[in-house]
């Protein structure tokens, strides 16, 4: 499958009509042919209750063709019935359905009377397509990046470590003695990130480091296995999806880290904590060391007084439950505790918690890029209306995909909100204890110079 992806990924032109490898499809069906799958495929009573649970369905004004059961029926249902003997054209026609109309948010799985995990059915259909090199082009490219480099943005390990050093210097200006330890042995937390942080938003790494440093955390960044995201999971490529997870687990064990800490990203958490253990065949379906999400760590730090804030954030805020942090991660209450510790005017969405709607950017949707943007804005109407109804001016979002999606929705639907992460709010409000206050005169020079070197112009204001 990876060979096929390699050929089709770079250019726009469709792949030369290649016959479908029915055997390969059958092996995927066979691998998934467990008691649950058999039961799910055979007992759907066609009651239609799943329809209204789906935000794509709602945003499409109740188009019956967008109901979850229908999408599963015309994708995996047909593949199963034909025992994998389907045409390439058919598989290509599914892309619009199983990627274009589903983010595998799993809300429908909670609304089915029989508990049919409809999103899991869609995931198998994605795996079938992926095995034939079929899928949204950008996801196939990203999968290749992961296969070749171990992270989705093909960032070199040295560049990553360099970014960490740079951020340590830059943010050392506000928090004295700030370090971003790399490959430190025996740390309590091995912090893993989304490659877009070191690539495009290095301040995310800097802010996290500030919080960890002030809280006195024993933490480290790994030089490899630092990408906890997993877009191969959404592309339906289990073999490649296993690679970054394994690299992360191996690194944690090698460093003797007591826990893997996940950045404010939803699907990274799902991949590392819930899906990954089964891909690597971990006993009991548990990761080798506990996997902890930033939301939970931040909550603990504030609750235990390790981080103190100057005052609460006073503007009206709402909280976006990322599907893979709340519904699929169990942290909806933890997130709310944290919001309430930080903010004085919290206005919840409706529905909320594990019942909250997907933002429309999950399941690989944001990385699927421009060809899917228009549809992403259409289906995001449900989320936009939810946000609008709260009257909040800030949306706290502990997930990069939700972050991008809600930013886009903000423009599209003129919501007039600001999208923020927990890191941003915490570093804004956090009291920096005396021992971490930078000594204004003596020490200001060294880190400043370094910062200037790394990012010309960054330190100009204080230089003068």
């Amino acid at each position: 499958m990876s060979e096929a992806a390699e050929k089709t990924a770079p250019e726009q032109a469709p792949a030369p009509p290649k016959p479908v490898d029915a055997k390969k499809i059958q092996s995927i069906l066979q691998a998934n042919d467990g008691a649950r799958m058999r039961t799910w495929l055979s007992i759907c009573s066609r009651c239609g209750l799943c329809a209204e649970s789906c935000f794509f369905y709602l945003a499409k004004n109740n188009d019956p063709k967008v109901s979850p059961a229908y999408k599963a029926k015309v994708s995996l249902g047909v593949i199963e019935r034909k025992k994998g003997r389907v045409s390439r054209q058919f598989l290509e026609s599914l892309v619009d359905i199983i990627w274009g109309q589903c983010t595998t948010c799993r809300r429908c799985s909670m609304y089915c009377p029989f508990g049919i995990d409809i999103a899991a059915l869609i995931a198998v259909a994605r795996a079938v397509c992926n095995s034939q090199g079929v899928g949204p082009e950008r996801l196939l490219e990203v999968t290749e990046n992961i296969r070749k480099t171990g992270n989705q943005m093909a960032m070199a390990s040295e560049d990553f470590v360099e970014t960490c050093d740079w951020m340590a210097e830059e943010y050392g200006e506000t928090v004295a003695g700030l370090e971003i330890p790399v490959d430190k042995k025996g740390a309590d937390y091995m912090y893993t990130v989304n490659p877009r942080e070191p690539m495009y938003y290095p301040q995310d790494v800097g802010m996290a480091a500030q919080i960890f440093h002030v809280a006195g955390l024993n933490w480290t960044m790994p030089s490899t296995g630092w990408d906890s995201t997993n877009l191969a999971m959404f592309a339906g490529n289990k073999a490649v999806a296993t690679m970054p997870v394994k690299a992360m687990y191996d690194k944690a064990l090698e460093l003797g880290a007591k826990a893997i800490l996940i950045t404010e990203c939803g699907h990274a958490y799902r991949s590392a904590k819930y899906e990954g253990p089964y891909w690597v065949g971990a006993p009991g379906g548990l990761p080798p060391v506990p996997v902890i999400h930033s939301v939970e760590l931040f909550r603990n730090l504030l609750r235990d007084g390790k981080i103190k804030i100057k005052h609460k954030f006073e503007h009206p805020v709402t909280y976006q439950d990322p599907c893979n942090v709340s519904r699929n991660g169990g942290l909806w209450d933890v997130g709310r505790e944290l919001v309430n510790m930080l903010c004085s005017d919290f206005r919840d969405m409706s529905p909320n918690r594990e019942h909250n709607h997907c933002c429309g950017g999950g399941g690989g949707y944001i990385p699927m890029g421009a060809p899917f943007k228009k549809r992403r804005m259409e289906s995001g109407r449900v989320k936009a209306e939810q946000i609008k109804a709260t009257g909040a001016k800030y949306v706290i979002v502990p997930c990069h995909n939700c972050f991008d999606q809600i930013n886009d929705l903000n423009k599209e639907y003129e919501l007039g909100v600001k999208v923020v992460s927990f890191k941003e709010i915490i570093t804004e409000l956090m009291i920096i204890p005396e021992q971490f206050q930078p000594a204004e005169e003596e020490e200001a020079e060294a880190p400043l110079e370094a910062a200037e070197e790394a990012k010309p112009g960054a330190g100009e204001a204080q230089d003068s």
């Binding site: 691998a31 998934n32 042919d33 467990g34 008691a35 649950r36 799958m37 058999r38 039961t39 799910w40 055979s42 007992i43 759907c44 009573s45 066609r46 009651c47 239609g48 209750l49 329809a51 209204e52 649970s53 369905y57 109740n62 019956p64 063709k65 109901s67 059961a69 229908y70 029926k73 799985s109 909670m110 609304y111 089915c112 009377p113 029989f114 508990g115 049919i116 995990d117 819930y274 089964y278 009991g284 379906g285 548990l286 709340s326 519904r327 699929n328 991660g329 169990g330 529905p351 594990e354 019942h355």
Partner: protein, 219 residues
């Protein structure tokens, strides 16, 4: 007609019961045995509490967000299932046969009430038929087989009531009633109607998946 009745109410009934019982047992056994290999998440995260809560919230109406969104439908589904199972088991006429065949019987419903509840089942069935036709998201999912199963599930009640009221030819109605019931029993283990038992397993599985693993309520 008498010979047919003799067959249907004798060996025919036995065959139907055996196929029904064995069919379900075999299907369950096969599923449980393959699950050891391929459904590790199910076995890894067992917790009785989550299974029971996951089942309970979908057994009774309005205990899940999903059924609250269509409260009338939820109520009809509940009443339909209750009567569909209860009426045949607690019917006086059936219990006389149980007494005759096995020497035991269950408590019975008064005849008048049993008739009302039979009509309730039929009424619920009519609602399902209309709903299936009227609601686009349901209609689009419905196949000929779904229609057949729905009508088949209702047929013993319709024919049973007609026979009881002696509308139409009694012997024919009675034989049809028994025949259709037997066909229904035979088909249950091999169709979506196997949800009579599989419901409990699939709800258990999703209870573990959302509840044990994430603390999320799948209802």
């Amino acid at each position: 007609m008498d010979k047919l009745y003799e067959f249907l109410s004798g060996p025919g009934l036995w065959i139907a019961f055996i196929v029904f019982g064995l069919g379900l047992i075999i299907r369950l056994t096969v599923l449980l045995s393959i699950s050891r290999e391929k459904d590790k998440p199910f076995w890894d995260h067992r917790e009785a509490g989550w299974a029971l809560r996951s089942i309970f919230h979908w057994l009774v109406p309005w205990a899940s967000a999903s059924t609250r969104s269509q409260p009338f439908f939820a109520a009809v589904v509940f009443i339909f299932h209750l009567c569909w199972i209860g009426v045949p088991l607690l019917l006086q006429a059936h219990n006389m046969l149980f007494e005759e065949a096995f020497g035991w019987s269950l408590p019975t419903l008064p005849e008048g009430l049993a008739e009302i509840l039979t009509l309730v089942v039929i009424g619920c069935g009519v609602f399902f038929i209309v709903r299936r036709l009227v609601r686009a998201e349901v209609r689009i999912l419905t196949s000929a087989w779904d229609w057949f199963l729905l009508l088949l599930a209702l047929s013993p009640f319709v024919t049973g009531w007609l026979a009881f009221r002696q509308y139409g030819p009694y012997d024919l109605m009675l034989n049809l009633h028994i025949l259709l019931s037997e066909v229904l029993l035979v088909i249950i283990p091999f169709s979506k109607l196997a949800h009579v038992v599989l419901f409990f397993f699939s709800r258990t599985a999703i209870g573990f998946e959302f509840g044990t693993r994430r603390g999320a309520r799948a209802w």
